[in-house]
Symmetry: C2
Subunit: 231 residues, 2 copies
């Protein structure tokens, strides 16, 4: 008799059955509550849960709508999961990320278009510039993130890109970048990125995969055996 769970299940089913599609507007709270046989409290709890998961979008004074349901939108809440485990054992996440990013690099070498290549090039140039002055850690951080996302986007698989983006949450990535900076390995990171991009630009999947693997394995080494970093 979990009313809230019923509401969530009912709305899910409506979407899965095609009664509700992306962009559609739901009935008003009053009507939907009557239709499902629950009062506004539990109904709002269910709608709120789906909104937090990125499935629904409520706008005061307007109504409640089904979102675009794109993988990127629906996976965004997962970044919280990554953040939770980031403090403790982050290695399993890194291992998965490595697998996915290597695949993305290989796919990007085959599928990336001129625009995507230019975007990756811009991000790389930006990170190169930011690596010059130690004060620009934040800039480097953003550019680094942008490069990896550009590669993931170039693979042409939105699910793959969404997963990579999720696994490289801001918190997790910030920790990585901090470690890299502490190790004075900014230059090496940029060089490895350039190697990856060259392979992608040359449309050489296996080389792109290998170079991304080398890059991420190096990053993992930093994190797994930090010689000087205590925190």
């Amino acid at each position: 008799m979990a009313r809230t769970a019923d509401v969530v299940a009912a709305i899910k089913d409506m979407i899965l059955a095609g009664e509700l599609s992306a962009g559609d507007r739901l009935p008003t709270e009053k009507d939907l509550g009557a239709q499902l046989g629950v009062s506004r409290g539990p109904l709002r709890e269910g709608v709120s849960a789906l909104a937090a998961m990125g499935v629904l979008d409520t706008r005061q004074g307007d109504g409640t709508y089904v979102t675009s349901l794109e993988p990127g939108v629906l996976m965004a809440p997962l970044s919280f999961v990554v953040d939770v485990h980031n403090a403790g054992g982050a290695r399993p996440y890194l291992a998965v990320r490595r697998v996915l990013e290597c695949e993305a690099a290989a796919l990007a070498a085959m599928n990336i278009d001129a625009d995507g290549l230019a975007a990756a090039e811009r991000a790389l140039a930006e990170s190169e510039a930011a690596a010059q002055s130690p004060a620009d850690i934040d800039r480097f951080f953003s550019a680094d993130l942008g490069f990896h996302r550009a590669v993931a986007a170039g693979a042409g698989n939105p699910v793959l890109a969404a997963l990579i983006a999720t696994l490289s949450g801001r918190t997790a990535r910030a920790r990585l970048v901090r470690t890299i900076v502490d190790e004075g390995a900014l230059g090496r990171t940029v060089a490895e990125h350039r190697a990856v991009l060259q392979a992608i630009a040359a449309h050489d999947p296996e080389r792109a995969r290998l170079r991304m693997d080398v890059h991420l394995a190096g990053v993992e080494d930093f994190l797994q055996a930090p010689p000087s970093v205590v925190l």
Copy 2:
């Protein structure tokens, strides 16, 4: 001024800051509401959202608790995402699944223990038996799912296993199995599974990866170019 969003963010922060850990009990709704400055309505909406995401667990008459926060629990809600896209373009999901399952097979060949090997063996034997009689489609379906999960578990990476389990949601998998049955390829599927398991038992990572790749590529072919299946 989105009260509900504030509640979600506040509880998240409490967990990230370590004020709340796995298994901890939250203050009562009345107290927590007062602490956050919201009334019971919005508070319950926020708690409900986190409960739907697998972060919190509320028990009537007892209280609200933080879940184990394990990757498997927190990623379960994502199966809905897969189901939503299953009807339309499922190929991106299959492509990602292939990458992850191949990696899992290779890792399992290196890391699996005797118990895990026995579990995979049992699932395989079960599916083999179920493949004999066409009436046991459901049994075959469950055993097939069990085999893939056993391999994923044998890899020893909970994040990897959780992602694979999520991407092989019941709905998505049911569709695959139906197609395979229609094609009369049950025997071939079992044989491919056995080949994968042999490579894992022999602790040969590359062979395990290759054989899993062959298996999943074959499955993908079924789905991408169904000669006779309309639905």
